[in-house]
């Protein structure tokens, strides 16, 4: 392949961005789509196209784990072994796939049909245990579906596949976010407009000032639903009023917190709701350019959102002079390439600018100096998708759904050992018990509950007698954990907490960006100790060492990743210390022993 053949497309890509280097990931994707991997000549081509040193291109290629630097099979099968999949048998699934394809993770079948990759959470925990074949999510991998995906892995890309389209439990009852989730192919412009769509946008753009919009969102008590829970209206108000720089809205669609899969459903099944939220937010903060940063593994989300953007353009809801109001907005999709840390808002901005996903020192905060050093607001998908409801039905109605400090609903992602893993929309005042026992049908196989992670893998674990807590940010914080991303991972009495912790520590060791020394060294160190314990070589001092190391990591880094890596260690060991001691002192069995 000659890179000159790609120059036309490269030129189009470069036009989307204010600075050439921001086209780093799209150009690398372009190369990989055409060549299957990124060879050194491609790095040189990308470097000269962007006007950067080759070392910077190599930094990116080596940082994002979806880029291949060697030729791979014609298909790629990514098998998730993160905690939610692990709880539902991912290890056995991977073993079977390895045996039947006769390759190990990282390997390619001798005929070059497929490369097998073991990956961290793909955020499709409702399908656990699951895998991704090229762009398609498949699961649960049980019975014939497992056979199908192994067969499909060997057929030519584009040929008919046998694995069935997944059919998990997805809430469609609303009232805010999920009312149009029924249509598995998404809700498109016609249907959205028929549902009263874009009325909220019209109201904001024609009858309200930006400050009135901010005020409405403030009164609605809309909190940032990416995980931090910061009041959305207040965040918007931080944009300097007198700035002469361009203002950017950046949508954080880099959903990656293990246990979470809500944003994908919004983008795939109701993309116009997100677009409406984007237009309203952009109007409120005075932005005319929005970027949507979608995690690299979400191929379908990116395609569907792009289709919605194109529809909105055609109908005059995006572009110049939206609906004759004089307001302009351009929305550009930017795909990530496999790095959890890019969900941290400043890492996302660094990544969007073409660098490694390194979180930034704060201050300055993005609202003052964000994307391309301009004032920037970063909002999560679910947060923005809630905005049209607020503008359409009023802040009071939205606020009334939730608690005194958090309005509305959330899309709770329930996975692990429940009868019915799936996506549940509920007012944030719902308790964890209600969510598990009523919504998700309780613990499967009649087992007893042992532990729950209420807000994604970073959240501190709660025990079975700590689940009578409401799911809003403040209640869960008071309960010593956090609402986080809304990813609820349920563990029954058969769960081995040491191995569960091992899954979490591996995740953090894999995903640390490596910038700050306590996190870079601490996550790897912790994981090596836990792995030694699970290998049966633990010692009595390990638990105290783990707690000390976790404590030493906390609060000493640029972003909260290190804290998030410390919390599982602390909470698992403190709440299940007896189990850990027993595991160590009885010379814990390795998995193969258990199987025997």
């Amino acid at each position: 392949m000659r890179f000159s053949d790609l120059e036309g497309e490269a030129g189009e890509i470069l036009q989307r961005y204010e600075y050439p280097k921001a086209a780093m990931l799209p150009l690398l994707w372009l190369v990989q789509e055409n060549q299957g991997y990124v060879p050194p000549e491609a790095e040189a081509w990308v470097a000269s196209t962007l006007g950067v040193a080759r070392s910077q291109v190599r930094e990116a290629v080596s940082f994002y784990n979806m880029f291949h630097t060697e030729p791979v099979g014609r298909r790629e099968l990514r098998v998730c072994t993160s905690l939610p999949c692990l709880l539902r048998g991912a290890r056995e699934v991977l073993d079977q796939i390895e045996n039947r394809l006769n390759i190990s993770p990282g390997g390619t079948t001798p005929g070059g049909e497929v490369t097998l990759t073991e990956v961290e959470c793909l955020c499709a925990c409702e399908l656990a245990p699951m895998a991704q074949l090229d762009e398609r999510f498949v699961g649960p991998l049980e019975g014939s579906t497992l056979d199908s995906i192994i067969q499909d892995a060997l057929v030519e890309p584009g040929d008919p596949e046998s694995a069935p389209e997944p059919d998990p439990y997805i809430s469609t009852a609303g009232p805010v976010l999920s009312t149009r989730f029924e249509d598995p192919d998404g809700t498109w412009m016609e249907a959205y407009l028929a549902d009263g769509g874009y009325a909220a946008t019209k109201r904001a753009l024609t009858s309200m000032s930006p400050d009135q919009v901010i005020d409405e969102v403030l009164k609605a008590n809309l909190r940032g639903l990416g995980g931090a829970g910061f009041p959305a209206g207040r965040k918007w108000s931080f944009i300097p009023k007198e700035t002469t720089q361009p203002i950017y809205l950046v949508v954080n669609a880099d959903e990656g917190e293990p246990g979470t899969f809500k944003d994908r459903y919004i983008m795939e099944r109701d993309p116009h709701a997100l677009l409406e939220g984007i237009i309203i937010a952009a109007f409120a903060i005075g932005s005319h350019k929005a970027y949507v940063y979608i995690r690299g593994e979400y191929f379908r989300s990116a395609r569907r959102l792009q289709r919605a953007i194109d529809e909105a353009h055609d109908r005059g809801w995006l572009g110049e002079n939206i609906q004759g109001t004089g307001f302009d907005l351009k929305v550009v999709i930017h795909r990530g390439a496999g790095a959890y840390i890019c969900g941290e808002e400043t890492a996302l901005l660094t990544s969007l600018e073409g660098g490694k996903g390194f979180p930034r020192l704060k201050p300055p905060f993005p609202a003052i100096s964000g994307l391309f050093s301009c004032p920037t607001i970063v909002n999560n998908v679910e947060t923005l998708a809630s905005v049209p409801f607020i503008l359409r039905h009023g802040a009071a109605r939205f606020a009334a759904i939730g608690t005194a400090t958090q309005g509305g609903t959330r899309l709770f992602c329930v996975g692990g050992h429940v009868v019915r893993p799936g996506l549940y929309e509920a007012p944030v005042s719902i308790t964890l018990r209600e969510l598990i026992e009523d919504a998700a049908g309780g613990i499967r196989d009649g087992k007893a509950l042992k532990a729950v992670i209420p807000g994604g893998i970073s959240a501190k674990v709660l025990t079975a007698d700590e689940i009578d807590v409401a799911m809003d940010f403040d209640s869960l914080r008071e309960a010593g954990s956090m609402a986080g991303s809304g990813g609820v991972i349920v563990m029954d009495e058969t769960t081995n907490m040491v191995e569960a912790l091992g899954s979490a520590t591996r995740f953090f060791a894999d995903e640390s960006c490596g910038q700050c020394s306590p996190c870079r060294e601490g996550t790897g160190w912790i994981h090596r100790i836990v792995r030694r314990i699970t290998d049966g070589r633990g010692s009595s001092r390990d638990l105290d060492d783990l707690l000390a190391i976790a404590g030493d990591m906390e609060g000493k880094t640029i972003c909260v990743f290190a804290d998030a890596a410390a919390w599982p260690v602390q909470s698992y060991i403190m709440k299940f210390r007896d189990e850990f001691e027993h595991y160590i002192h009885t010379g814990a069995k390795s998995r193969s022993d258990e199987a025997a």
């Binding site: 050194p40 940082f63 020394s517 306590p518 870079r520 060294e521 790897g524 160190w525 030493d552």
Partner: protein, 547 residues
Amino acid sequence: MPSLTIDDREIRVSGGTTVIQAAEKLGIFIPRYCYHPGLSIAGNCRICLVEVEGAPKLQIACNTPVTEGMVVRTDSGEAEDGRRAVLEFLLANHPLDCPVCDQSGECDLQNFYMNFGRYDPRFREHKVKKQKAVTLGPHVMLDQERCILCSRCVRFTDEITKTGEFGIFNRGDRAELGIYPGEVLDNPYSANVVDICPVGALTESDFRFKARVWYLSSAPSVCNGCSQGCNVDLHFMLDRPHLNDRARLVRIKPRYNPDVNQWWLCDEGRYGFGWLDRARLTEVRGPSTDAPVTAKPNWDQALTSISTTLAGLGRGQQNSGNGTGAEIAVIASGQLTNEELFLIREILQNFLGARVSASVADEPGSSDDFLIKADKNPNTRGATLMGLAGPGAPGAEQIVDEALAGNIGALWVFGHDLVELFGEEKVRELSARVNLFVFSGTNENPTASFAHWVLPTAAYVEKDGTFVNCHGRVQRVGRAFPPLGDSREDWRVLLDLAGRLGMALDWREPREIFQGLARALAPLAGLSYEAIGEHGADLMPATGAEP
């Protein structure tokens, strides 16, 4: 101008100052790895943690701007525990190969461990393996395992040289420093990354395994490699000659000077010192005679002979001797100190009436818009101030032509290689034409073999004096160690000569010569060695703008 308190001491600093800078003003040193005042703030090493009253957690001093009334503790238990924790993390995967590491003894992992070490190590896992002893370029070696990923070198090649060679590849504890495979780190400032590397990850190929740093002595000086006059420290070793192939100077490091070179030094200047200990002139050589050489000529014989001839040719005795109408000519050098050039002016030009030129049309060397200047002499500006170079001064070529025309009776050349400049034939002819041809210099060169007298002189590291750089800043060089062999400082030779000529000079050493110089030359008025100090002083502004 916010005022704040650090460790109970109050200080007022300008707005925008960071805590680490404010502490430095108080003489409180806060440990740092990634922070470097010449580079952007990375904030990644986390060793500079301090306690700030009211903040929920420890803050990094390098990125915390001071605010009015801020109360900072660098010495509290919490701050020290924070640093201890960070240092333990940094050492977790560090190979601890100090016994074979060139950085040992000047390593900030070692240094800070003395204060913030956890002397009962807890790390009992296998360390991450990375590449060792990687040659990055002509001057720099990389050990990835020792690297603490502070990114100083990455920022140096991004921000200072803008050459972008370095990158940190991969992530988590697999992150590793490197340059793009197949590329070479050979920008003109490459070795600065060794200086700023706080650990033993980047070391100098040239210094590799030569000596433990604690064997080295250090003396401040100024690079003589070009007219920029970058400040340097000379690291030398006199008592272990076997370690460095008998060479005394082991390495040169940049010395911080905010007005000249900041923290930096070019590779050309840094590694251009081989001549100091190689092919040096160490003995006086006299006119060849037919008589068997029973004793080598010595300084006394040389200066007696030279002074007698010069006195015969000099002002007052002119035309009285050989009737050739000859006079004395001197080709001086921008490599000489101001003190020496001043003596040449006073003794040879003013007392003897010699024609003196320090205007030698060398081929211009490489240059850039940063530190490297095309004029490879450190003191052309000094020679110009004294009228020995620049407008009004004769060119060296004129003097050579005059000599060839038979109008010169005695020629004294300081350091220059006339053979390279004018060709061997001309120099051979010139040597035959003049009555006296003196070459004084530090090193063998083809011109020396045509001279009647060869006087071995001291290198700039072997003598005291001053240079004026191209921006009009007068700076001191100092004697790091004595002249090699029988070589002598030019100023000493010239003072000796003055005595033999009957001149009444009461200067005994460079410091005193400079006092005379400062009285004689307006741009230097009021200056002294003390006033020049370690960082130099700008000439009086009236002349500071001279070309």
